[in-house]
């Protein structure tokens, strides 16, 4: 009886399929349009800007899973980016040597090179997720600021370790003779990992971003995601409701780290960037935190808007080169003074005109 009623309420397969595949198809189409129409029309400067925007969106939205959804305070996100970037870079750079004898871009769209690049992204993301697991574990014992310091420490340790790696091997004969371990430790040291083939295109950036957005939005509406949100709202109450807070916190870290790793992989293969340990230090982490807070903690669309704004703004402030960062810093301070909940608070952009939810809209930090 009850089973029959439940079956009647269950949505049909067609509906489920359209809900599951529809958004992804839409993002795929958007990515194609971006690559085939917008990029040729806009020129290389805007192509690079679009890729930067996409990568920063990936970073901001993924950090939002930890800082915004779960209410944990992580300031080591650039560290995960570095893990993904270096692993993926090593995979494509040395992989290209092994497969085709040179690190140049190989094959066209979805050709051998692209497949290797995608594999690199995946491996980089997985390694980064592993790092996220390790960093998330101390959250068993640490709360709030202390966890933040551990994430910061992780990022710094990683940066120093990367600075100690050997120079990149670029002589084919030496690479043939090198052991996997030698390759894995030849990541360019303090000078940065140069010579990584430029596989990143606007298309791939937006495909990855689409993937993350679907994950993030679906998470927000699912019971899994609501567990994240409950930890943000009140950890003790969440625990009393039977939520295994540690496990969910670690999960948030792993998921965020995975996508940060992918962002790092895209960054590593982008034209005109060098993968440099210094660039991926705490300052980069701060930049990402600022995006999340500016957008509003827990607001996915807010993180997107903030990431776009904060990527575009410095480009257009270039005219005031000397004053650029001063203005940036001042606007940050003023923003925190007069709109402390960020642009959108915890709401999404299309919910702005709705009445605020029962909870206060102010961003919640580590508590």
């Amino acid at each position: 009886m009850l089973g029959a009623r439940a079956a009647a309420l269950r949505p049909g397969y067609g509906f489920v399929l359209s809900r599951a595949v529809g958004p992804f198809g839409a993002f795929l189409a958007l990515a194609f349009v971006m690559q085939l129409v917008v990029v040729p029309w806009a020129g290389p400067f805007y192509e690079k800007l679009l890729m930067d925007i996409g990568i920063n969106c990936l970073l901001a939205v993924s950090l939002n899973l930890v800082n915004g959804f779960t209410g944990q305070f992580s300031i080591g996100h650039a560290g995960f980016m570095a893990v993904g970037g270096y692993v993926a870079g090593a995979v494509t750079y040395y992989g290209s040597f092994v497969l085709w004898g040179s690190p140049a871009v190989h094959g066209g769209f979805l050709g051998g090179g692209d497949l290797l690049f995608l594999a690199g992204c995946l491996v980089g993301g997985l390694f980064s997720a592993g790092a996220g697991y390790l960093v998330g574990l101390p959250s068993l014992r640490l709360r709030g600021d202390y966890l933040a310091i551990v994430t910061l420490g992780f990022g710094e340790i990683l940066r120093v370790l990367l600075q100690q790696t050997n120079d990149v091997i670029f002589v084919p004969a030496q690479i043939e003779a090198a052991t996997p371990w030698q390759m894995a430790t030849a990541l360019g040291g303090a000078l940065g990992f140069s010579g990584i083939p430029f596989y990143t295109t606007v298309f791939w950036v937006f495909v990855m971003l689409g993937l993350l957005l679907i994950v993030a939005f679906r998470l927000k509406e699912s019971s899994e995601g609501r567990a994240f949100l409950s930890i943000r709202e009140n950890e003790i109450a969440a625990e009393a409701m039977g939520i295994d807070t540690t496990r969910y916190k670690v999960r948030a870290f792993v998921l965020a780290a995975f996508f940060a790793g992918i962002a790092g992989a895209l960054f590593a293969h982008e034209t005109g960037t060098t993968l440099n340990p210094r660039e991926l230090g705490f300052q980069k982490s701060f930049d990402i935190v600022i995006m999340v807070v500016l957008g509003g903690m827990g607001s996915i669309s807010g993180a997107l808007v903030a990431a776009v704004l904060l990527t575009v703004l410095p480009e257009f402030l270039r005219e005031f080169a000397d004053w650029r960062l001063v203005i940036y810093a001042l606007s940050l301070i003023i923003m925190m003074r007069f709109r402390p909940q960020g642009l959108f608070g915890i709401r999404e952009i299309w919910e702005l005109w709705r009445k605020p939810p029962g909870a206060s809209p102010a961003g919640r930090g580590a508590s």
Partner: protein, 310 residues
Amino acid sequence: MTKLLQTLFDGLAVGSLYALIALGYTMVYGILQFINFAHSDVFMTGAWVAYVVAATAGWAALGGDAPPLYAGLFTLFASMLFCAILGFGIERLAYRPLRKAPRLNVLITAIGISLFLENIGQRPELFGTQPQKMPQLLPDTTLFTIADVNFRVVDLTVIAVALVLMAVLQWLVFHTRLGRAMRAVSHNFSVASLMGINVDAVISFTFVVGSAMAAAAGFLYVMKYPGALKQPADSTWILLGLKCFVAAVIGGIGNVRGAMLGGVLIGLMEMFGAAYLSPHMRDIYVFSLLIIVLLVRPAGLLGRATVEKV
């Protein structure tokens, strides 16, 4: 044996420097419960003001190889005074309006201030974008040698000044009315205010003292490493600040004696690691020690664990 003792001495010199900066972090955290990321930039400003004062006064060029003693003292006090005012201004203008805001907002504001100080410092009218060399204010000689360990004048000065300042702070916090008020505020904000303590004044005072300590540390830092006066936005400053913050956490954040202990511990750790393991990995020792301490004793060495209430 000589190497061991020399490293011990160097570690103590660096460690007392770290302790001075760590004190600023720990006092602010103790009272307002947030990481004052702008503290490293106050330290940077202290170092640069010391440079500007010493360079404009031109004592080093007087001809004699040892500038007068008052030169160093004057520079120290000038830089401490400047940063005390700076710290007061930062608290008054940026942090006080956010007293009731979520802590994350205060933290972002601190990052904003830090960025602001760095980049305004890079203006050509202020410090400029070039690293400078600090003029010498102390004779660069070895005062005495015991068991082949060189006690350089600079290192001894660093330790002496740091010790004096820490003793003053110790007296201030634990033996004066103002110190009692500070401790009361750090214990419980609202109850302290009910007891008739002017909380705002106490917080202002905390910032003034912390910033003056940071300025003194900045001065001592450029005395010890005259070639390390990097441009204001260089990441060495923030990294140094982070290390000192780590020192404060290791000692137990909010605990004045803990910060001193943590600073010395970090200094020793770094120097011993650099001398006996690899000199390139010094940051790693510091941050690994942090993670270990946090995992074993989350409240720090001298900190007391607090039970979270519903």
